[in-house]
């Protein structure tokens, strides 16, 4: 081994050691980071609490956060919140799950056959850029106002981000990796399983995460149009009955579910593409 290599190795070891601070310091650092990151949200809640009490806004239309919290608790205790949340989540997850099951394999297939991708590209762009909610009346017309139309609209809206991301993921696999696989005379199934799938995974996951956000967004709107249960229905009917704190309680629940779902998908993404961390 030459002196240079030794230096190269030592530099490597040092940088690896520098990257791992003491556990206590890391724990404290994490705590500080959490405090810092939640500061803006706590600030918003403080303004929400103070503004109606100081008479800056009409407390009939924007009750202080504490009243909303109380209303939320009541909804939780009498079971309304849970029932509606479960109804919404059931629809969202069914539509989202079906979209993943359909769009990922389809996207892999379309992405792999270049002519197909080029042929369908413009059509897919049109569909993606047509707001799903604009099509809601069509879905209601064709499928009625029951569960089918709501799950279908979620499915429809979730398919596009996943499909388009999967197609571009397959098409942007590093060409030298494909060349390597070809030089090793890898059979097509192996090529797919060992090169294309793992290389495409990060971009596919981006699409899945987008779809996760879309699934809740679209569903809530659909539930406002015609439903007898669900968080969208809860918010809408509360507004209709002038139960303003309950309405805000519903809205807060929706955003909490949205954030939670996204965090879950981010964690999954991390798990499956751990090699990508600190690559940038």
């Amino acid at each position: 081994m030459t002196g240079l290599e030794v230096a190269e190795r030592l530099a490597h070891k040092e940088s690896a050691a520098a990257r791992q601070p003491l556990p206590v310091a890391r724990w404290l650092g994490g705590l500080r980071r959490i405090a810092f990151r939640s500061a803006a949200i706590l600030g918003l809640l403080a303004i929400w609490e103070a503004a109606p009490r100081l008479g800056l806004v009409d407390s009939t239309f924007l009750p202080p956060f504490s009243e909303v919290a109380v209303a939320w608790w009541q909804l939780l205790v009498d079971g309304q919140l849970l029932d509606n949340t479960l109804a919404s989540l059931g629809r969202s997850l069914t539509g989202f799950g079906l979209a993943v099951a359909v769009a990922v394999p389809l996207g892999l297939l379309i992405g792999w056959y270049k002519p197909v991708a080029e042929l369908l590209g413009p059509l897919l762009e049109v569909f993606r850029n047509t707001a799903a909610l604009a099509l809601l009346p069509v879905f209601v017309l064709l499928l009625g106002i029951g569960e089918t139309s709501k799950i279908s609209i979620v499915l429809y809206a979730c398919v596009w981000p996943i499909l388009l991301n999967t197609i571009s993921a397959v098409r942007t696999v590093d060409p030298t990796l494909l060349k390597l696989a070809r030089s090793l005379d890898l059979p097509p199934i192996c090529l797919f399983q060992k090169v294309i799938l793992p290389a495409a995974a990060p971009t596919v996951f981006t699409g899945v995460r987008l779809a996760g956000a879309v699934s809740i967004l679209v569903l809530v709107a659909a539930e406002m149009v015609g439903a007898k249960a669900g968080l969208g229905y809860l918010v809408n009917s509360a507004q209709f009955n002038f139960a303003i704190p309950q309405m805000y309680a519903g809205i807060v629940t929706i955003s909490a579910i949205g954030v939670g779902f996204n965090q879950l998908l981010v964690a999954l993404e991390r798990k499956f593409t751990s090699w990508r961390r600190e690559q940038a």
Binding site: L4, R9, H12, K179, L180, L184, C190, K194, W275
Partner: protein, 257 residues
């Protein structure tokens, strides 16, 4: 062992290679040097079986090369490592293609990482390794499934000068130990003279072998700073003369485009 006769490759009405003749003996280290855009990489693709010549013949042991095969290993300039696999996993990747039983793979991969001086780095991912180390992993991967020929496409071009020199020495050491036949592509005259037993100088577009120069620098172990020796300078100058006109011509073509 490798014989090229009148190998020509056209892309539409653009001729990349026009009648390449070349002989490579078993265990020989041959360097192809030429100006940029002379079809060096095209030639390597043909040797790898990733493309077919428009006309002419490429023979390996007297049999035509008609597709990729595990008797030839490629080392790419951009390393072509799978970023989601560790160094060990990347070396195993080549072994999976050859059908080495799972249990033997890890041991064999370790052995070749050791050969390229990467013991202790088995569990690192490519992004945790320096450019030089990544190329070592790629070399280990190509050697692990024991091809007869190693095809190297400007493997050290992306590395800094010092890493490049240490890898050149490493490669010579590996070559002496394993007795592989190596076809090495570069645009660096110094690299060509330092590594090659035979240096084939290619002309600029369309690519043709202008002349093959045999390099004999004596016993490497005896000369301390080979690159400063008078023999080295003489060979360097000889190839520089051969290349000089070609580089000028390539630049004119570049401007004319």
């Amino acid at each position: 062992m490798i014989t090229l006769r009148g190998v020509t490759k056209d892309f539409g009405d653009f001729t990349a290679l026009a009648g390449i003749d070349l002989d490579v003996a078993a265990g020989e280290f041959v360097v192809l040097v030429g100006p940029s855009g002379c079809g060096k990489s095209t030639l390597l693709d043909l040797l790898a079986g990733l493309a077919q010549p428009t006309s002419g013949r490429l023979l390996l042991h007297g049999k035509p090369i008609d597709g990729p095969g595990l008797d030839r290993g490629i080392v790419f300039q951009q390393y072509a490592l799978l970023p989601w696999r560790t160094a060990l996993g990347n070396v195993e990747f080549g072994l999976e293609a050859t059908g080495v039983p799972r249990r033997q793979r890890a041991a064999q991969a370790r052995e070749f990482l050791d050969l390229v001086g990467l013991t202790g780095f088995e569990q690192r991912h490519p992004h945790e390794l320096s450019g030089g180390m990544r190329q070592r992993v790629a070399i280990a991967r190509s050697l692990a499934y024991d091809p007869e020929v190693l095809l190297m496409d400007e493997p050290f071009a992306a590395l800094d000068a010092q890493t490049r020199e240490s890898l050149q020495d490493e490669l010579l050491r590996i070559w002496e130990r394993t007795g592989k036949t190596i076809v090495f592509i570069t645009h660096s005259i110094d690299e060509a003279v330092y590594l090659g037993q035979q240096v084939a100088v290619l002309t600029s577009r369309p690519g043709r072998v202008k002349r093959s120069v045999r390099i004999d620098l004596g016993n490497r172990q005896e000369i301390r700073d080979l690159r400063s020796s008078p023999e080295f300078a003489r060979y360097r100058h000889e190839i520089w003369e051969l290349l000089h006109d070609e580089v000028a011509r390539a630049q004119r073509l570049e401007v004319a485009r």
